[in-house]
Amino acid sequence: MQKRLLVLGAGTAGTMIANKLRRRLDVGTWDITIVDRDDVHPYQPGYLFLPFGTYSPKQVTRSRHRFLPDHVDFVIGEVDVIDPAASKVTLVGGRELPYDYLVIASGTSPRPDQTPGMLGAEWRRSIFDFFTLDGSMALAEALRHFDHGRLVVHIADMPIKCPVAPLEFTFLADAWLRKQGLRDRVELVYVTPLPGAFTKPIASERLGSMLDDRKIVVEADFLVEHIDPETKTLVSYDEREIPFDLLVTIPINMGADFVARSGLGDELNYVAVDKHTLLSKVWPNIFAVGDASDIPASKAGSVAHFAVDIFVDNFLEHVAGKPMTGSFDGHANCFIESGDGKGLLIDFNYDTEPLPGSYPVPYIGPMKLLKETRANHLGKLAFRWIYWNILLPGRRMPVPTLMSMAGKTVPTTTSSTPSPTD
């Protein structure tokens, strides 16, 4: 009997998995099927650049099937529900896809419907997101007409995919406004539910001082309750108010609704898995890889990439009835654009926060960690090519899968003793 592997989602993680496993699973014994709702694969990191005209939409989309290998069945359809007890998936319209093993790789998406007032009269008039292709394009148009006022960049709640993206947008907006000669006429405000610029202390301090240098006002610990579209104001649960002329928001991010419908999701529709093996905590034949899982790592393409490397070997052991020997460490590696042709790079995992140093080669680099350099910016731009040509086809990247401490320095001075009320 043919064995059936079914992958839900042909995005970053699903596409890599289909490519890598097709090479490792014998065509004579294994069928691989992958499902997505359409045939347009977006390069999501490119959405950051669209509002500033650096990229055009053509540069950030390709057809999904171009990246899938022979002998993988690509089904276009909307997943409706998983029946884990019966090991089958039903698509909207009723088509059923039975499986022996299932990989949930359906990612996470911005949900403006979750914040009252966001989708009101001001949506795409003065309220924009850039986490979707059409949102990013609409924002590009709005920026062309924006010449003075309060520009507020806002995160509704964590976790979000690419947690540095809103900071990058803010830095790029600052540089772009300076270039247009408009910076003096614009007040830039960064609103976050976090206590500072980023989640981890050393990076947060570094990035926070970069915001200060650029005269960007930070409103921390701000958890939005609703938006008043009439007065164009963000209102928090503790009744603070932040007015805006142009709001660039990162709506609440949530996993796919079918995950919740299938009884597999937490309160944000993420699938509960073991953080080292990505195997479901409930079902021994279901994995969740990429943004769809609840692992306490950044939701990022780099995390998906490193996790897939571990997952593939583990999967082969698992289906052979052996214990899984690979252990994912939560490795993330993210470029942070900082404007004016420069950028930073951070490299971290479950246990180690982003530290200064060089990457991937100790002392040499060419990339510097937590430091603004031109090489980091060029690395970020080169990544689009790498994504299409190396990452998605599942070719080997010349960087280690697990995070390495080589080349990193642990600062000795720690800031003043924090307290639970800081």
Binding site: D157, P159, D221, E225, T417, P420, T421
Partner: protein
């Protein structure tokens, strides 16, 4: 890991004062911890604290505000009223649990 004594309780804490061993906690200690951050516990406070403890026991992680509201049924607005400014961190502190690291 520093050891400290609070109103007769010997406890292990991290650099920020969060308990590192949830088993050292009881409701009596919760009142003492709450005083440390200027709170007097009422039944409403305790409802949130008890949910966090029970949820941690099954999930192994400190619940986020969203989880306390959707799963525990206590509206976020009320959590802000009870534990002003930084409710997630404050409830975890009073409940003797690690601070929520849902945000990465």
């Amino acid at each position: 890991m520093p050891v400290t004594t609070l109103a007769g309780h010997q406890i292990h804490v991290d650099a920020e004062g969060f308990l590192t061993d949830p088993a050292e906690w009881d409701e009596d200690l919760a009142r003492v911890l709450a005083e440390q951050i200027g709170l007097t516990l009422t039944d409403e406070h305790m409802a949130a604290v008890r949910f966090l403890r029970a949820d941690f026991a099954t999930q192994g992680e400190t619940a986020t505000l969203r989880r306390i509201s959707t799963v525990g049924g206590i509206p976020i607005k009320q959590l802000f009223a009870l534990f002003p400014q930084k409710p997630a961190k404050k409830i975890a502190y009073v409940a003797g649990l690690p601070k929520p690291h849902g945000c990465v």
